[in-house]
């Protein structure tokens, strides 16, 4: 165990130096990096916000099932199936029909079925129906239909969330899908997440509807921005989808902040036609079910440009413009988890983390020197090399360092000496029975090998499981602990062993105290 071939030695030191060099990359200035690798700081160290958003699936399903009402009624009418008792429930539709067999054929037709499309990916229809009693049926989404509806809403939401966050201009945001209903957002360096939360919390569904008392589509009573009760038609003239741009602006006459918008060609045509036909009436601009303002139509607007005023502050106008530009979310997003760390707490955490690392490191080094004297020096050399390699691997992997991650490094320092302690203690025992010192060292290393491996694999298993199940900062702990074990094994079994062999082989059977 003490003989090293030249190739072996070369390989050990090459690997050691090669990996350790990477740890110095973290000292570079951000501007003139030669190699763009570094250890990233977690949100708990650099400050920032972590948000977990969930789409409101109940709301979504309710809307989606409602959107099936007209196509289903049409299908029934077109095929001369008589129906009555058509009811809209929370997540389903129920109706009594006189010909279930005919309905079944139409409902499950694979060709041109606009009512109930067949989803090839899942080999399933979007909808399914159950017979209740006699001739009553209940129509609802199938399992895969729900999945598809949620999934497409989630994909769309991610896109909108990304646009909104990019528009605010935070640095290096992370936006990822998590599971079937959730979006993970990480915003490093953000001090106050309230504005972003407010912006993400709004669906921003904008539509233009006429104020009128009677209308073939029915009306609903909404309250205007100055407290007036207005009957607003349920018919949507035009929605936010037709907007191609929106910007905050200041109206010249009275310095009031407003949002000016530009419509696409289709929107401009629709808007022009309606405003021409309804000069003198009032137009309600409705955002998420609330009237923003309800101005009079003074003259036809055919240019495709318009303006929304509604007692905004400039900030509100800016935010509304941003929301309109980025488009509407298919369904509201709920913040189900939030973790925000202020930048000064992050700095404090780095300071206290590093202080405890240095102190812990010095304590362990002194203890090893006291316990093993000269061989303590070897163990300490291995420990220092271990720390550099650990930082090097973290840099190569561009891992994220968190506060628990720093704790993991300190713990690695404490536990890393174990491998050398096991070996040294074994050698001590061997020295008692073995006459040749070289043999004692040799068999000491040999016999401790299995134990060292066994002992470290157990901790490695714990680290891997923690990595798989942990979240955020805790994952950072698992990473440093796990990598720490591997660098520990390398430094104890190659570096420290080689250093020991140099000492032992050169002293030639003279007294050695360990």
């Amino acid at each position: 165990m003490l003989n090293f071939s030249k190739i072996n030695v070369l390989f050990i030191y090459f690997l050691l130096i090669f990996i350790s060099i990477f740890s110095f990359l973290n000292l570079q200035n951000d501007d003139d990096r030669i190699i763009k690798k570094k250890i990233n700081l977690g949100l708990d160290l650099q400050g920032g916000s972590y948000l977990l958003l969930e789409i409101n699936s109940d709301n979504l399903i309710k809307e989606k099932i409602q959107s099936k009402v007209i196509p289903i009624k049409k299908l029934l009418k077109d095929n001369q199936i008589n129906y009555n008792n058509f009811k809209i429930n929370e997540k389903s539709l129920s109706v009594s029909i006189d010909n279930i067999e005919k309905f079944d054929i139409l409902f499950s037709s694979r060709q041109d079925n606009l009512v109930n499309p067949y989803i090839d990916n899942y080999r399933s229809y979007e909808l399914e129906y159950k017979k209740k009693n006699n001739n009553q049926i209940e129509i609802s989404f199938s399992k895969f239909g729900l999945l598809t509806v949620n999934n497409s809403a989630l994909k769309q939401s991610i896109e909108i969330v990304r646009r909104r966050i990019d528009d605010i201009g935070t640095k290096e945001p992370t936006i990822l899908q998590r599971g079937e209903k959730r979006i993970l957002v990480e915003l490093p360096g953000l001090k106050d997440p309230e504005r972003i939360k407010a912006l993400l919390g709004k669906t921003a569904q904008l539509n233009f509807r006429l104020v009128s008392d009677n209308n073939e589509f029915g009306t609903e009573e909404l309250i205007s921005e100055n407290g007036e009760k207005l009957n607003v038609s349920k018919r949507i003239i035009m929605s936010g989808e037709n907007l191609i741009d929106a910007q905050p602006s200041i109206q010249n006459q009275n310095n009031e902040p407003t949002v000016s918008f530009t419509l696409d060609r289709l929107g401009a045509q629709k808007f022009g036609r309606v405003s021409t036909d309804n000069v003198g009436k009032r137009l309600a601009i409705v955002l998420d079910g609330e009237i923003v303002s309800a101005p009079n139509i003074n003259e036809p607007i055919t240019s495709g440009n318009g303006m929304i005023s509604g007692n905004f502050t400039f900030q509100e106008a800016t935010d509304l413009a941003l929301l309109l530009r980025s488009g509407a979310l298919p369904t509201p997003l709920i913040v189900v988890e939030e973790r925000t760390v202020g930048p000064d707490l992050g700095e404090d955490s780095i300071k206290s983390g590093i202080t405890s690392l240095i102190i812990g490191f010095i304590l362990v080094i002194l203890f090893m020197l006291y316990k093993y004297k000269f061989f303590g020096l070897i163990a300490n050399t291995a420990l220092i090399a271990n720390l550099f390699m650990l930082m090097g691997v973290l840099t190569i992997l561009e891992a994220t360092l968190t506060l628990p991650g720093i704790a993991g490094i300190i713990l690695t320092v404490g536990m890393a000496v174990d491998a050398n302690v096991l070996i040294f203690e074994r050698i001590r025992e061997e020295l008692k029975t073995e006459k040749s010192i070289i043999h004692a060292f040799d068999s000491g290393y040999n016999r401790a090998k299995i134990t060292v491996l066994d002992a470290n694999i157990t901790t490695l298993i714990a680290a891997i499981i923690l990595f798989a199940f942990g979240s955020g900062p805790v994952k950072g702990f698992a990473i440093t602990l796990g990598i720490g074990i591997i660098t520990t094994l390398f430094t104890a079994y190659f570096l420290a062993r080689h250093l020991t062999s140099l000492v032992v082989l050169n002293t030639k059977n003279k007294e050695i105290n360990i």
């Binding site: 977990l52 309230e194 939360k197 407010a198 709920i334 913040v335 189900v336 988890e337 939030e338 973790r339 925000t340 760390v341 202020g342 000064d344 707490l345 404090d348 206290s352 983390g353 202080t355 405890s356 102190i359 812990g360 304590l363 362990v364 203890f367 506060l403 628990p404 720093i406 704790a407 300190i410 713990l411 404490g414 536990m415 000496v417 174990d418 302690v421 096991l422 203690e425 001590r428 025992e429 066994d454 002992a455 157990t458 901790t459 490695l460 298993i461 714990a462 680290a463 499981i465 923690l466 798989a468 199940f469 942990g470 979240s471 955020g472 900062p473 805790v474 702990f477 698992a478 602990l481």
Partner: protein, 298 residues
């Protein structure tokens, strides 16, 4: 090498362990664990505000109808931690609390940390925490079963349960908070305690092969003594590192490092006084390991 007689103390130690174990179970069942917002849901706010008292913060929050509110000092002078067991819509609640505090307290308020975990997420986090700990126990069981004989496997798992339950029992007794980092600590304790047990087991197995005439109590005693220096040195270096985190690492790591310190102490104790005697109850002898070897060699 030391020559303490551990085996005569096995019986007393085991009775002591069994009592502690059951007290812990009773504490965990009836007094319960003090779950933090990670597992219970709710809002946590850490703020810094000089010249402010706990009572004035409490007064501000009292008028808001927030349910159970907990305010305490946190580390340095002027640092406070508030926990709100909130029900309603958090999208609006946090800005409201922040605004009320900023407006009502007489000095500047710096919100250093805000955490909010919804009920669904906290239930999931708790579930994945339990799965992670169970899975790690199962993985250890499997690893030892592959590397050793089944008696060793059972012995080490009993020692692990002993460590985890008693650590949690102490947390329950002292009403210390259980959060995500405590789960990380428990998993690390599982790894550490296993590590300690494996070292002694390795030696027991080696000695079983060497000394056929000694019975298992003597073998265990000999093996514990042979590895005692290592057991103590490693515990000391690990504890040095942990105390450094506990004292200097700041408030956030305090619970984590305390759990680890307890775990290392209990884990070291259990590998000597729990894991080793169990082999005696299973009547492990050199025949146990020989049989195993016969199986492998055809």
């Amino acid at each position: 090498m030391t020559n303490y007689n551990f085996s005569t103390k096995f019986k007393h130690a085991n009775i002591f362990s069994i009592i502690l174990f059951f007290i812990s179970i009773i504490l965990i069942t009836f007094k319960g664990l003090n779950y933090g917002i990670d597992f219970k849901g709710g809002t946590l706010i850490e703020l810094r505000s000089n010249n402010t008292e706990v009572s004035s913060i409490r007064d501000v929050l009292k008028d808001m109808d927030l349910g159970d509110v907990n305010v305490k000092k946190f580390g340095k002078e002027g640092d406070f931690l508030l926990k709100v067991e909130q029900k309603g819509d958090n999208n609006k609640l946090i800005p409201e609390i922040k605004k009320n505090l900023s407006d009502s307290l007489n000095s500047d308020v710096n919100f250093r940390r805000v955490e909010n975990v919804g009920p669904k997420v906290s239930a999931e986090l708790l579930q994945s925490g339990i799965i992670a700990i169970s899975l790690s126990l199962a993985a250890m069981l499997f690893y030892i079963w592959v590397r050793f004989e089944w008696q060793f496997s059972i012995g080490s798992i009993i020692a692990l349960f002993h460590d985890v339950i008693i650590t949690l029992g102490i947390f329950s007794l002292l009403s210390l908070e259980i959060n995500l980092s405590i789960v990380a600590a428990v998993l690390t304790i599982v790894g550490y305690s296993m590590n300690d047990t494996v070292v002694i087991y390795d030696r027991i197995r080696e000695n079983l092969g060497k000394f056929h005439k000694l019975d298992i109590s003597d073998i265990a005693n000999l093996s514990i003594n042979e590895t005692l220096a290592r057991t103590i040195i490693t515990s000391v270096t690990t504890l040095l590192a942990l105390f450094s985190i506990f004292i200097l690492g700041g408030e956030i790591l305090r619970g984590f490092s305390l759990a680890m310190i307890l775990g290392v102490l209990i884990g070291t104790y259990s590998s000597i006084f729990v894991a080793s005697p169990i082999l005696k109850y299973f009547k492990v002898s050199y025949k146990t390991i020989e049989k195993e070897e016969e199986k492998i060699v055809p």
